[in-house]
């Protein structure tokens, strides 16, 4: 009889729960939040998640300082006394509002009263500056009108956009292409791997000789880092020095060796081949283990009943191998769908986006353009696809997957 898990028992689970909580679950929730905001790290007004309006005091203080400085310098150029007084009043106004936020820095929340005051200051200052620059030739006549705009920019509008980014993504051609590329890559490479892997496993299951050698050799492509494998293949595919490209050209599969990585179709074929090379052995090993679990007596019984080799493959091997195949397919399909390193190193998504998958597009958006909001939307679409794939397989497997434990 298994013991009940007491309070102390929960301590066994605690470290795992903490790690999964912080580094897996919390980031997912966080990513969902990102999708609802126009969140761009490199944009001063959008570099945070602002549900309400905020006030950038740093920018405000800096602007106030320069307006005070420039306008004071230009007082000498203002000949009309009345205008001069107005300019001095503006300087005082800027100083007094700035003084209210003395000692405050960073991005803060403000009340609507404070907001109105800042907007009023902006409009007043802007009006006077445009009058003065039209009337007189000021030393800082070019920079003052630009400078005053920063008062307006120091009020950060809410960048909450709701589901607008999802709407944009649904109409985004680049998302369509990336999704199509991902599906194409996944379906083609996993199908080839399944057929080759199954064939190989069947052969290995028969031929006892040399099995150890084959097993060792198979593990190496699986075990080396994908980035290393991708770099290796990029050399073999290279237009001028690549031996595989040269070989394909001689076979007449491609017109010239440069086509392999630099043409759109060629690049996709190349990435699929590299993936097949790296993961077929893994597939074969998984299926071989499944095959070795099928008792030999079943085949004897089948042959006594007069079943042909062919028949016994379809009525004994396949049904008994079903759950091994499904588990292997599940993990391979998910891995192929999430493919990143291989394409990132081999083609970088090119040429012209021909091999850009969802992960690559998301990575480029998030870390290339620092657009975390839209990048997260792309990731979320991928997440939903992965969830659907997983659910289909878990359905097909029944409760097998969890029952084993």
């Amino acid at each position: 009889m298994k013991q009940k898990l007491g309070f102390n028992g929960w301590l066994y689970l605690l470290p795992t729960l903490i790690l999964i909580g912080i580094f897996s679950l919390w980031p997912v929730i966080q990513s969902v939040t990102y999708t609802l905001f126009d969140y761009k790290l490199n944009d001063q007004q959008k570099s945070g998640l602002y549900l309400n309006e905020r006030f950038n005091t740093d920018l405000f203080h800096e602007t106030a300082l320069y307006i005070d400085l420039f306008l004071s310098e230009d007082l000498a150029n203002i000949t009309n006394n009345e205008d001069k007084v107005r300019a001095e009043e503006t300087i005082e106004d800027v100083k007094s509002v700035s003084a209210e936020y003395k000692g405050v820095d960073g991005v803060i929340e403000i009340t609507s009263g404070q907001r109105n005051e800042i907007v009023r200051l902006y409009e007043d200052t802007k009006g006077i500056i445009s009058e003065l620059t039209a009337e007189y030739s000021l030393t800082h006549g070019d920079s003052l009108p630009l400078l005053v705009e920063d008062f307006n920019k120091s009020i950060i509008p809410s960048n909450f956009i709701g589901l607008a980014a999802y709407k944009e993504a649904i109409g985004d051609k680049r998302v369509h292409i990336a999704l199509w590329n991902t599906i194409l890559f996944t379906v083609v490479s996993v199908s080839i791997e399944l057929v080759l892997g199954l064939g190989l496993a069947l052969i290995l299951n028969k031929a006892i000789k040399g099995q150890g050698l084959v097993r060792t050799t198979s593990l190496i492509p699986w075990a080396i880092p994908t980035a290393v494998a991708a770099l290796m293949w990029s050399y073999l595919y290279d237009g001028s020095s690549g031996v595989v490209a040269h070989f394909f050209e001689n076979l007449g599969l491609i017109n010239q060796s440069q086509d392999l990585l630099l043409s759109q179709g060629g690049a996709m074929v190349s990435t699929i081949l590299a993936d097949v090379w790296k993961t077929t052995p893994y597939m074969a090993l998984l299926l071989l283990a499944g095959l070795q679990n099928i008792p030999g007596s079943l085949y004897e019984a089948a042959s006594i009943d007069g079943a042909s080799k062919f028949k016994s493959f379809f009525s004994v091997t396949l049904p008994l191998l079903k759950s091994s195949i499904l588990v292997a397919l599940l993990f391979r399909t998910l891995d192929a769908f999430r493919v990143f390193d291989l394409i990132f190193v081999l083609t970088g998504g090119g040429p012209g986006g021909a091999t850009e998958t969802m992960s690559i597009y998301a990575y480029k958006t998030m870390f290339g353009q620092t657009n975390f909001g839209y990048g997260s939307v792309v990731v979320m679409i991928m997440f939903v696809c992965v969830a659907i794939i997983a659910m289909i397989f878990v359905r097909l497997l029944g409760t097998n997957l969890l029952d084993r434990n």
């Binding site: 898990l5 290393v228 050399y235 391979r332």
Partner: protein
């Protein structure tokens, strides 16, 4: 009957030999290239099987100028520390799952399985921000988010292994008057050791091969691991294939050694857990 069987065997042998050739050829070709001079690689000698003028210059450049040793060192630090803490944490969790009855057990297992299916990209953005705020970018703290990839897998394999250890052994130890600690150290650990070891190797390889988290969180080349450092060789203005080949050869050696020594454990780990790539 006899001849057709022999023909089939011959066909099988050809397929297997062809397969072995395809698997080994890229490594072999890279190995050959690493001893060629740039002139030979980019000139008419690109497809020579034996280098005209063998040189070890590529290795010298890669080892002493391009910092590949630093990357190998980083990879060892990151992979070993990840393996140690993940195995510790996962063993506790898997032991509890395998030995105790508690509510929410299937939810926990389902959660572990679900996390192993997450697209890794989904955690990189928030983890990047978290590390930025904590000042952890460009540090070895990157091993903590490595748990997303390695922990669920480790728990899964370990549960399978622990389930194979008969509960009766522990019970009879208890009847014989062994304390809880004695049961763990004298019965459970020795029996669980092979399974734990298998899991450790799989975890080590997964951590060694990790790419996305390192390239996003550790942008400084001082903290690059092998896969990331290797990928940057591709980015250079003109790709020096001789150096790329030498670097690839060097970084493949640790993996090769691990596979040769631990292949039994690796295969058992892969097949018992239905592990992901």
């Amino acid at each position: 009957m006899k001849t057709s069987k022999r023909k089939l065997l011959l066909l099988f042998s050809i397929v297997v030999i062809g397969y072995l050739f395809i698997m080994v050829f890229p490594f072999l070709w890279i190995f050959i290239t690493s001893f060629k001079t740039s002139g030979e690689i980019f000139g008419t000698g690109a497809f020579n099987i034996i280098p005209e003028d063998p040189t070890i210059k590529n290795y010298i450049t890669i080892l002493f100028e391009k910092g590949i040793l630093r990357a190998i060192f980083n990879s060892f630090v990151v992979a070993i520390s990840t393996t140690i803490y993940v195995i510790f944490v996962a063993s506790l969790c898997a032991y509890a799952i395998s030995r105790f009855q508690f509510r929410g057990k299937s939810i926990l297992l389902g959660l572990v399985l679900a996390v192993s299916m997450f697209p890794q990209m989904i955690i990189t953005g928030p983890v990047y921000n978290l590390f930025y705020d904590l000042g952890w970018l460009n540090s070895y703290f990157v091993i903590l988010p490595y748990s997303t990839i390695t922990l669920p897998m480790a728990v899964w394999i370990l549960v399978t292994h622990f389930n194979q250890i008969p509960l009766a052994l522990e019970e009879s130890a208890k009847i014989d008057g062994a304390t809880r600690v004695q049961t763990l150290t004298k019965i459970v650990f020795p029996l669980a050791a092979p399974g734990v070891f298998t899991t450790a190797i799989i975890t080590f390889i997964a951590a060694w091969n990790e790419f996305l988290l390192t390239i996003t969180l550790n942008t400084e080349s001082n903290y690059h691991t092998v896969p990331v450092a290797i990928s940057f060789l591709r980015d250079q203005f003109s790709i020096l294939w001789g150096e790329v080949a030498a670097a690839t050869t060097i970084v493949t050696i640790p993996t090769l050694i691990i596979v040769l020594i631990f292949q039994r454990q690796i295969v058992s780990g892969l097949t018992s857990g239905g592990v992901k790539e």
